[in-house]
Symmetry: C2
Subunit: 350 residues, 2 copies
């Protein structure tokens, strides 16, 4: 059975590697960081829905299973720099502590996303100007540490708001797509803030609350009814300093009038963009990207993991905005497809 | 390698069967209908996003691949009525034209959803009273036939509206969840109506437009900008007859005032409920359901296809609201997991 190389050790890559190895393939998992687990681990995510389990523990179990699997070799601190050959007979150049040319039959790209940089926003939210303006992942790390405090003074906030769609649904910056998970993540964090700081009022300013599927009943309703998170349909146009607080200015769309609220902390619900690794792997592996730089699925919607090049599959947020369920489902699907492709006869060339 | 039985021949079941067979397993696909393809075929869906390809053709290619696969046996007009044994060594009773006890190592349940019955709604939309009140799937069939006409008089409508969240996000009927796809499907159908009937005005009354991920740029923006579909954030409380038309009454949430609009045709965006087959298979196979009757994923979010019983996996809308991409990803993942489980040693019992 041909060897499968998985590039990227986040949730999708872990699922792909596990899937392929359980099917009997030898797997090499190449990860540029020194650790596995991907963005949730690197960015210190707190808990994950629906069970509100520790992200570190839940993903840690998947990492441990991969590290313990006899058919998976993990190369951390490593990057793929070149690809030659065809499906069934690729040669992949890996640079790192154990630089080598790897022979393999198929490849899974699971190089994920990066959080939108709110310094690149066109609206004026002051992420780099005001210390109490954070992004979703900054608050995740505070929640994980159990230390939600204003960076400006070390005190817990008494009024905190989330601003949705920062870097998403925004044509001016070229990100027309919806990043899919930010409504759910912000609402989850809002619940956690209310649990850790019961005296803190929490607002979420949104365009549409995209709490699809079970998130509606698992997160959105409890956030409102049990945890009293206040959802305001509105557009925030700017965040300004006001004494030692922040003034949030915009329009309440439902009431149809301008709004001005004073906050201690503002959390920007930043969207997903392709990670540098996703853009780089698309180039190195010679696979098509869409106009946003994500890897393009070759035949949607009934094939979610094939790319433009036979034998190269993609999974998770490398393909575009994805939740954890999307990532592990496409990861497992891509791992399985790679096993089949790796066993195929190499195309005779030249 | 142990045999895998897949129950249900819709998009998820087709993906599961293909995945398992390509990995070398012998697969039996059990389908209660006389044909494969599932709800999109039975209900005559028109086209599927993002390429607006004919559903019949796109799904037909998957059906043809399954029917032609040497390792897949298809049993149509058949139902599973009993299960004995354990993972690696199940005996499954199948009733149909070829009634038999099937030995298999693992099972994939892909028994899907049914459209919410709008006669069970608590709001007064008159689905069974007024001929020009339709449901999403009724309009799909009209679009597929290229014959969008008012059932009452056979004339093309000049004003048509969609009412979102019929049977979803509704605690009174016990469906608190969001059905995930209806915003996208209604918007797709709205575009198709505008293409087939350029003189017909089209409105969509919604709570939140849940156009997650690429649907935002692929469907929602073109619907508004290119096809001039009119989105109105509002709650419709009732549909009444008005001469030979329909009066839609409710509240425009953005304008904060009551609205009354006259329509020729009203389309109810009905949500997803577990199909009778999903409820029945949960009982026959002895796997846990959630409170809505969908099959409960045993360990979300990092395992999307395991059920409460080892060796039984689930995929697609049997697990809850799912789009086509969800269905094929979980289908392929479940097929692959089933192959691994089927090869496991049977548990020694009794």
């Amino acid at each position: 059975m041909g060897r499968v190389v998985v590039i990227g050790g986040g949730p999708a890559g872990l699922a792909a590697a596990t899937s392929a190895a359980e099917l009997g393939a030898d797997v090499v998992l190449v990860e540029q960081e020194s650790f596995l687990g991907g963005t949730p681990i690197r960015e210190h995510y707190a808990s994950i829905t629906p069970k509100m389990e520790s992200a570190e523990e839940a993903i840690g179990r998947r990492v441990a299973a991969v590290e313990a699997h006899p058919r998976i070799e993990v190369l951390t601190g490593s990057r793929v720099t070149a690809l030659r050959g065809e499906v069934g007979s690729f040669q992949l150049q890996v640079e790192g502590p154990k630089s080598q040319e790897l022979r393999c039959g198929a490849v899974v790209v699971a190089t994920g996303f990066q959080h939108f940089d709110p310094g690149r926003e066109t609206q004026m939210y002051g992420y780099y100007e005001f210390p109490d303006v954070l992004a979703l992942q900054d608050l995740e790390a505070m929640l994980k540490a159990g230390q939600v405090v204003r960076p400006s003074n070390g005190q817990p906030p008494r009024r905190l708001c989330f601003i949705q769609c920062v870097g998403s649904r925004d044509r001016r910056i070229g990100n027309e797509y919806c990043s899919k998970v930010c409504c759910g993540v912000a609402s989850k964090e809002a619940i956690e803030v209310r649990e850790q700081l019961p005296d803190c009022e929490v607002f979420i300013f949104y365009i549409d609350m995209r709490m699809y599927g079970y998130w509606e009943s698992q997160i959105y309703w409890p956030a409102q009814e049990k945890h009293h998170v206040q959802y305001v349909k509105g557009i925030v146009s700017e965040v300004l300093p006001k004494g030692d607080q922040l003034l949030v200015r915009g329009e309440d769309t439902t009431l149809g009038r301008p709004m001005e609220l004073t906050m201690d902390m503002v959390v920007l619900s930043v969207g997903m963009e392709p990670s540098p690794g996703t853009r780089e792997m698309a180039r190195v592996l010679g696979i098509a990207q869409n106009k946003y730089g994500f890897i393009e699925a070759a035949d949607p919607p009934l094939d979610t993991v094939s790319t433009s090049r036979p034998g190269i599959f993609a999974a998770g947020a490398a393909l575009g905005p994805a939740d954890l369920e999307d990532s592990v489902s496409t990861g497992a699907a891509a791992g399985s497809r790679a096993v089949v492709a790796a066993a195929s006869q190499p195309v005779v060339t030249g």
